[in-house]
C-alpha cells in the first residue's frame, strides 16, 4: 500500500510530508483509527478480567485480597501456591486426572471410529437403527441417568472406583464421538475399502490399516474436546467417585477450598490458576485447533 503521507520534499532526503499533513487519516479511509477494534479489544479484556483478577490475587495474602482486591500485589508471595501442594496435596490428583484423560481418550478414539465405520457400510435398516440409537444419546442429560447409574455400579461392585468413572466417561463420550466420526467418514471414498477387499483385507484390518490413519483430523478434535472436558469436569466425577478415595483435580479443589461459608480466596485463586494453566498454555499454542475442535459437534 502506498503511504498516505504527502510527497517527500526533495533535497531533505527523508519524508517530511507529515509536517504538512498533520491528519493524514482523513485523506485515506484505510488509515482511519480502528475504533471498532479498540472498543472490542477493551470489551474482550473486560470479559476475561475475572481471570486476570484471579492471577493477580493469587500472589497476595488473604488480608491484602480483602483490602485491595484490584490493586497490584505489594509483595509477591508464593505461599498460596506452596499450600496447594502441601496442604491440598494437588499433585496426585493432577496425575490422576491426566491418566484418566489418557485412558478415556484412548478408549474413545478406538471404539468410536470402529462403531462409526461398521455403521457406515450396513444395509439401510440396521445402519439407520444404530445411528438413531447412538444419536439419542446426545439428548440424554446426566441427571436422568445419575441415580440408576450409581445403583448399577453398586450392584456391579465397582462403586466409587476409577474403573467405574472410566466406564462412565467413555460411554458418555461415545454418542458425540460417533457423530463426529460418522460425518467425517462419509467423505472417505468407497473405492479405498473396495480395493482393500480385493486385496483380501477383512473389514477389521481394512479399518485399522486403511481408514484409521485417515481419521487423524477427527481424532485430534476428539482428543482436544474430551481431554479438556475430562480435565475440567468435576460434577460427574464427584457424583460417581464420591469423596472417599483418590480424586480428580477439580473435585479435590472443590472439596478442600469451597466451603460454603468460609472461603480462603488466596488458595482458591492459586488453585484456579494452577488448574487452568495447562489448558491455557495449550490454548495459546493452538488456538485455531481448539476453537475448531470444541465447536465441531455444533457446526457439522
Amino acid at each position: 500500500m502506498k503511504s498516505g503521507f504527502g510527497s517527500p520534499v526533495s533535497g531533505l532526503g527523508f519524508n517530511t510530508g507529515f509536517l504538512r499533513h498533520p491528519k493524514p487519516e482523513t485523506r485515506n479511509p484505510r488509515r482511519r483509527i480502528p475504533v471498532l477494534e479498540a472498543v472490542m479489544l477493551l470489551a474482550g479484556l473486560l470479559f476475561v478480567s475475572p481471570c486476570f483478577l484471579a492471577l493477580l490475587n493469587s500472589f497476595k495474602t488473604l488480608p491484602e485480597i480483602t483490602l485491595s482486591p484490584v490493586a497490584l500485589p505489594k509483595t509477591l508471595t508464593f505461599d498460596n501456591y506452596a499450600y496447594l501442594f502441601t496442604g491440598v496435596k494437588l499433585a496426585k490428583p493432577m496425575l490422576n486426572s491426566l491418566l484418566m484423560c489418557i485412558a478415556v481418550i484412548l478408549s474413545l478414539i478406538t471404539t468410536a471410529p470402529m462403531a462409526a465405520f461398521s455403521m457406515m457400510r450396513r444395509p439401510m435398516f440396521t445402519g439407520r437403527f444404530l445411528r438413531v440409537f447412538f444419536l439419542a444419546g446426545l439428548t440424554i442429560p446426566f441427571q436422568i441417568i445419575m441415580v440408576p447409574l450409581l445403583q448399577q455400579f453398586r450392584l456391579l461392585d465397582i462403586q466409587f472406583t476409577y474403573f467405574a468413572l472410566l466406564v462412565h466417561y467413555v460411554s458418555w463420550g461415545l454418542p458425540l464421538c460417533i457423530f463426529i466420526y460418522s460425518g467425517f467418514m462419509s467423505t472417505i471414498p468407497k473405492e479405498l475399502e473396495e480395493s482393500a477387499a480385493i486385496d483380501g483385507c477383512g473389514p477389521v484390518s481394512t479399518f485399522w490399516r486403511i481408514i484409521f490413519p485417515l481419521l487423524m483430523p477427527c481424532t485430534i478434535t476428539v482428543v482436544i474436546f474430551w481431554g479438556l472436558w475430562i480435565w475440567n469436569d468435576f460434577m460427574q466425577a464427584f457424583i460417581i467417585m464420591g469423596t472417599s478415595k483418590g480424586q480428580l483435580v477439580f473435585v479435590q479443589l472443590w472439596r478442600f477450598l469451597s466451603d460454603k461459608y468460609v472461603k480462603n480466596w488466596n488458595y482458591i485463586f492459586a488453585g484456579v490458576v494452577v488448574l487452568s494453566m495447562p489448558v491455557t498454555v495449550l490454548y495459546l499454542l493452538m488456538q485455531r485447533r481448539f476453537v475448531k475442535g470444541l465447536t465441531a459437534g455444533a457446526i457439522k
Binding site: L36, V48, L53, A115, V167, F207, I268, A298
Partner: protein, 294 residues
Amino acid sequence: MRKHLQKIAASLILCGPAVVLYGGFIVFPAILGFAYSLTNWNGWVNRPRYIGLTNFRDLISDTVLPQAIRFTLFETLLIVVFFSFGSMLLAILLDKLKIMKGLIRGLFFYPYILSILVGALLFQYMANFREGAVNTLLRAIGLGAFAQDWMGDTSLVAYFIFALVAWNGLGFFTTVYLANLQTIPTDLYEAARIDGAGALTVFTRIQFPMLLPTLTTNSVLALITGINLFPQIVVTTQGGPGWRTFTVGYYIYYLGVLNNRQGYAAAVSFVTFVALVGIAGIQVALLRRRQVAL
C-alpha cells in the same frame, strides 16, 4: 457360509464395544430410571418395591417442584435469548474486525475452555457482598449505595446464575455464528454496498436470513443448556437463598443423591426428560418452518 460368519464376527468386533458401553451405561440406566420411578426406592441399601404411579401423583402436590420449574424456565428463557441474539450481535461485530481478529476472538472464546467450577468460583468472589470485587469497585468510585449482595439477594440471584452461564458459554455460541458468517459469499455484501444498503439493511436482508440455520442449532443447544442447568447451582448457591435457585436438575440431585429419595427423583427426571424432548421438538419444528418461509 464361512464368509458370512466372518462378516458377523467383524461387525461384532467393530461395533460391539461401543454398543455394550453405550447401551449398558447410558441407555440402560435411562430405562432403569423409568422403572425406578414406579417404585418407592429410598436409600441405597433398601430394595425398591413397586408402587405404581404413586410417585407421579405426588408430583402434583409437590411444592418445591413448581418453584424449580419456574426458576429453570426463567433461566432457560434468559439463556436462550442471550445465546441466540446476544452472541449473534457479538459475532457480527467480531466479523467486522480488520486487525487483531484472532486476539479479540480468542479473548471472548477463552472462558469456554475453563472449568465451570473456575467460572463459578471467580463469579462468587466478584459477587461477594463484603469483600467482592464488584462491590469494592462500586464503593471506590463512590457508588457504594449500589453495592448489593449479588448472590444472596432473592431478586438478584437469578441474574447472577445467568451471568455465570453466559460468561462460560458466550465464546462457544459466538464461534458457531462466526463460522456461519464466514460462509456468506462476499459478492452479497458487494452488491449491497453498491445498492447503498446500510449496516442495518445488510443485517436484516443478508446476515440474519443466512444465519437462520445456526440460530436453530444455537437456540436448541441453549435450551438444553438452560434446562439442564445444575452443576453451576451445586457449586454456587446450592439451591439457596431459601429454595430460590432450585433448578429441576438440582432438585433431582437433591432428591436422588443427597436425600435418598431415588424413586421419586426418577419420576421427576422422567417427566423432565419428556418435557425437554417435547420443547426441543417444537422449537426445531417452528424454526425450520420459519427458515423455509424466508
